[in-house]
């Protein structure tokens, strides 16, 4: 494997990831970078390649072609070093339900080589951060979905990773709990300064949290940038024309232009601001099923 030419400060450099399952190509050349402190969203429909990407970046799956470099070091030849700077929150809360919150976190401190005298202190800090201090010695099976998610996140942060991977962190949670979890994730990014790569198929989530978004579809990244820029790129305003059999959409850079065009139609119409979903639709022709 060649060494990356990028400067060491690029936290993560992903070059041309290809993943084949048999003859099927799940990823067809995915490249992107994460700088320290970034909040990057990987947005795409189910089956687009989001989880495969995260699994490769955390070493749960091997890549077929391409390269992954953490701070300039090749992941495949230095997996131990890389695993110390990354944290992973998988889609399913993979906690031991029969063990207590403390025991779950304690296991992580052993596996990640946190020195024994520091373990208890770090665990108590983590539980405090997650708002779970009173639940320290309770079995995880008594926890609600939101509590489990917070626990998995602080567990992934125990060894102070510089990059955190969150795979669909709010799937299956109530709207209110989702909101508190968003705040919690933002706090991790802002207070701890941890760079975050979050995958989601909830457009709202990416729009709310991510400084930069990668839109992935059928194993390829088809757009990249801050959500506002992506929206501006297709126009900023959309005119929806309600035809008998379908809704047609036209994009405009200002509300005035959209209203001007509206006058030309007899059908009922609606002018609204562009959302990230419009961007996605325009680029892929597929609606994200939520």
């Amino acid at each position: 494997m060649k060494n990356s030419t990028v400067e060491d400060k690029t936290a993560l450099n992903v070059e041309g990831l290809v993943k084949k399952y048999g003859k099927e190509k799940a990823l067809k050349g995915v490249s992107f970078k994460i700088e320290g402190g970034d909040f990057l969203g990987l947005l795409g429909p189910n089956g687009a390649g989001k989880t495969t990407t995260i699994k490769i970046l955390t070493g749960l799956t091997k890549l077929t072609e391409g390269g992954v470099y953490y701070y300039g070091r090749d992941f495949s030849s230095h997996p131990g070093e890389a695993k110390r700077v990354i944290g992973m929150v998988p889609q399913q809360s993979n906690l031991d339900r029969d063990l207590t919150a403390f025991q779950n976190l304690y296991l992580h401190t052993i596996l990640h080589g946190i020195p024994k005298p520091l373990r208890k202190e770090k665990i108590d800090e983590a539980l405090e951060f997650a708002g779970l201090r009173e639940y320290r010695d309770r079995q995880v099976k008594t926890f609600s979905g939101g509590m489990r998610r917070r626990l998995v996140i602080v567990r992934a942060l125990l060894h102070e990773p510089r990059i955190l991977f969150l795979d669909e962190p709010t799937v299956g949670l109530d709207p209110q709990i989702r909101r508190t979890l968003w705040e919690f994730i933002l706090k991790v990014n802002q207070v701890k300064g941890t760079a975050i790569l979050l995958t989601t198929h909830y457009i709202e989530e990416a729009e709310k949290l991510c400084g930069r978004v990668l839109i992935i579809n059928r194993g390829r990244i088809i757009a990249e940038g801050p959500p506002d820029d992506l929206k501006k790129d297709i126009g900023g305003y959309v005119l929806e024309i309600f035809l008998e059999d379908r809704i047609e959409e036209e994009f405009f850079s200002s509300r005035e232009d959209a209203l001007e065009r509206l006058k030309e139609y007899d059908h009922s119409c609606k002018v609204r601001e562009v959302t990230l979903e419009d961007v996605f639709l325009k680029l892929t022709g597929r609606r994200i099923n939520v």
Binding site: G59, T61, R84, P90, N94, D98, L107, I110, L111, Q139
Partner: protein, 245 residues
């Protein structure tokens, strides 16, 4: 150092502790039934290979019961891997695959040794006299290690719980019944004899029985057990690596 080994073992023992009573109770019943049915009732006055049948049976129950327990971690690993996904927590940590295998194997050995102690208690209660040869300790450690490693291998290869159950039915159960745990393998028809001499349990049962009943220990059998242990350690390592493909 050895963070992976310690971590894996910590996890398995912590989980075990939450259900230790139930597990020990459940695993203590079937050997007791065998003892009562075959050793006590049917085996009264019967002698096999110059031993009272119950004395012949006790070492067989030790290998059977400890195999069940050591190999039984496969079932737990399956749940850990497919249902709770806890296994990913091991794979994501900066630890080696060797440590994962050794940690799981140590847990399997622990369970196997626990059931061995239980059979000794039964032996005491039933008044069975055993003659200890120090080779016993080596043999039981190798025996539990090799079947724990086999359990890890199978648990990592199978794709679901169903396949796991099938392996148990078609490989493990026949092996337990045919490998000399309940009767001497020399009494088997030729075809089966060939088969059982390819199975590791045949050798560990022979060595363990000899080491507890004052028999002669065949060094060839001991080396074969060592070879099986090395083989299954290697396959376990290979199987854990394969999970990341």
């Amino acid at each position: 150092m050895f963070n992976g080994f310690k971590g894996v073992l910590y996890r398995e023992l912590s989980v075990f502790r939450t259900r230790a009573k139930k597990q020990i109770l459940a695993s203590s019943l079937s050997p007791l039934l065998y003892l009562i049915a075959f050793g006590w009732s049917f085996g009264k006055g019967v002698s096999v290979d110059g031993l009272p049948y119950i004395t012949f049976l006790i070492p067989g129950l030790i290998t059977m019961s400890s195999l069940n327990q050591s190999y039984g971690i496969a079932q737990e690993l399956n749940i850990t891997r497919f249902y709770f996904h806890v296994f990913d927590e091991f794979l994501i940590a900066p630890i080696s695959h060797t440590e994962i295998v050794l940690g799981e194997a140590a847990y399997g050995m622990f369970k196997g040794l626990l059931s061995t102690i239980l059979i000794f208690v039964y032996a005491l209660l039933f008044g069975v006299k055993l003659i200890f040869n120090p080779i016993f300790f080596l043999a039981i450690l190798l025996h539990t290690f090799l079947f724990a490693a086999l359990g890890i291998t199978i648990a990592m290869i199978v794709r679901d719980h169903g396949t796991q159950a099938m392996v148990n039915t078609f490989v493990i159960t026949p092996m337990i019944f045919l490998s000399g745990t309940f009767f001497p393998v020399d009494k088997l028809p030729y075809i089966f004899k060939v088969l059982v001499y390819a199975l590791p349990l045949t050798y560990s049962t022979k060595v363990i029985r000899a080491s507890l009943t004052g028999g002669e220990i065949n060094p060839v059998f001991v080396s074969l057990i060592v070879m099986f242990a090395a083989l299954f350690f290697y396959t376990a390592l290979w199987a854990v690596r394969r999970v990341e493909a």
